[in-house]
């Protein structure tokens, strides 16, 4: 089994985000980390490797900061890590990013399974996984909360994936793209040995030429979406109106009256 996990780096989920007058986004002193959703994808890849053997390769399209995500994945136990980047990749939307990732996966040639986190906590587009699946022509199995069956010899996978109404059970041939979601596993902590390995590891850098990508499909040139402005949302001021009756029953009745007056019931 050759499993590829696609990842990216994001500001920490606790980060206090801000935007200055020039429109530059800042996350203050908070560190850059692996996108938290991607840890579920990495963990699932490692669990599958433990069960079926094989190799787990983690890839990321990004500048040097993307090494934070790759290092974390190696420290968790992935075998190989590859970064894909050159300056012209900047300002890629998901259309362009999915093109680069798909080209890199095609270059590897022997991939059985591609794993994603459900979305990235920064731009939250939820788009890169389904877009990569479409580009590769692989089955798209997003929001997977359980890999029910995997048969590497029969080349099939069965997953349970989350939809609003419940869990859809889907079978598909390999290779496939699986988007993982929280609940599929409990991501492991990095070990001391893992962190040491990640620090000593070589992180090959693939350029667009390496993956045979056409320059006009990458970066701003290859992107359809522009985001000219990022801003802070208006803050809601004020405190709750505290409701207090003589008894709990009276308190409840007062609240019910207020909610009926708000016309939300």
């Amino acid at each position: 089994m050759h499993i590829v996990v696609c990842t990216k780096h994001t500001p920490d989920s606790e980060a206090k985000m801000s935007v200055d007058e020039a429109g530059n986004v800042s996350w203050g002193e908070s560190p850059l980390i692996i996108n938290p959703w991607d840890e579920y994808a990495v963990e699932e890849a490692l669990l599958l490797r433990e069960k079926y053997g094989g190799t787990v390769t983690v890839i990321s399209m990004g500048p040097e900061e993307a090494l934070e995500a790759l290092k974390h994945a190696i420290a968790m136990g992935c075998d190989e890590a590859i970064r894909i980047w050159e300056e012209s990749c900047a300002d890629s939307d998901t259309l362009a990013t999915s093109y680069v990732l798909a080209r890199a996966i095609e270059k590897m040639g022997d991939v059985d399974l591609v794993l994603f986190g459900k979305s990235a906590i920064d731009a939250e587009t939820w788009q890169t996984g389904p877009a990569v699946a479409r580009r590769l022509g692989y089955p798209s199995l997003m929001y997977t909360i359980k890999i029910a069956e995997l048969d590497p010899d029969g080349r099939t996978i069965t997953v349970e994936r989350l939809l609003e109404e419940g869990r859809q059970v889907v079978s598909a041939p390999l290779p496939a793209v699986v988007g993982t979601t929280k609940g599929i596993n409990e991501p492991r902590y990095t070990s001391f040995i893992g962190i040491r390995k990640a620090a000593r590891m070589e992180y090959p850098l693939w350029t667009l030429a390496d993956i045979g990508a056409e320059a006009d499909k990458v970066g701003a040139a290859g992107s359809a979406v522009r985001w000219p402005q990022i801003f802070m949302p208006p803050v809601r001021e004020g405190e709750a109106e505290i409701i207090e009756g003589e008894t709990v029953a009276e308190t409840a009745r007062i609240l019910v009256e207020k909610l009926l007056a708000e016309k939300v019931i």
Binding site: A123, Q127, E165, T251, V264, I265
Partner: protein, 328 residues
Amino acid sequence: MSNDIFVWVEQFSGHPTAASWEAAGLARRLADELGSDVTACVFGGQGIEPLAQEAISYGADRVLLAEDATLADFRVEPQAALLAKVVREAEPAVVLIGATFRGRELGPALAVELDTGCIADCTALEFEDGQLVATRPIYAGKLLSRCVIPERRPQIFTTRVRAFPKPEPDSSRSGEVTRVEPVLAEDEIPSKVTGFKETKGGVSLTDAAIIVSGGRGVGGPEGYEPLRELAQVLGAALGASRAAVDAGWIPYEHQVGQTGKTVSPDLYIACGISGAIQHQAGMRTSKVIVAINKDPEAPIFKLAHYGIVNDLFKVVPALTEAFKEKLG
């Protein structure tokens, strides 16, 4: 190239989702501003024909109806293939899709198919100098981003559930229904749906008009019982904070917050939830927020409109009774 607006109508077992009609209402508004038409794409299994008329009542001028077994259970491949085909033929300016799980998978697949852009989870969409400008939350709503697709067409947008009003259906509206055939035959579709496990509790979180949600304060799995009773009286969905899900008291499907679902109900009743920033990120756009918590210092009281400082196990059953009295 036309100025028409396409909208994808999502259905589950033949039932349309509210997100579809929210998108249809937005499509109608944009088409009226452009002086163009709305086409609804209704692709499902046998027996979905009534949805065509329903789509017209929600604002469509034209419906493309595909009724075929391959489209009954949602799979992105046959839906994207057919949607791409009808979009290529009609060349609309805009395609709108509700940002449900299905819609979030379909939008980017369609964008790749048509080599165009998709802007996900929009909470506002307005014309500015003739250009459609989308607003969408990023970093769990800590920031907002304005996005455009300046050149490529169609412009695809997925609309955040409950961010746009669901219009009143108008059964006197008329429109034209055209049947279309699926592009992919069953043996050309790689994935097979072999089962469905429906979530217990019925009402789905993202569609719910009312959510009763419990956190650390419920104390254990059995602590959700009074919340369930209240939810049942109100026809509400049951939510949970991350603390309760991580403790194993309730399945992940119920989690609201940055690492769970983002919801925007008319009424959110937070019981025993302190209101960590991650939880707030998932429910802050609720219209009215009620907080029930023993701790008067809990951050949820800063966000809530109404608060009750008391034990939820006393307050919630009292609320259930009070609602029963009023609602019959």
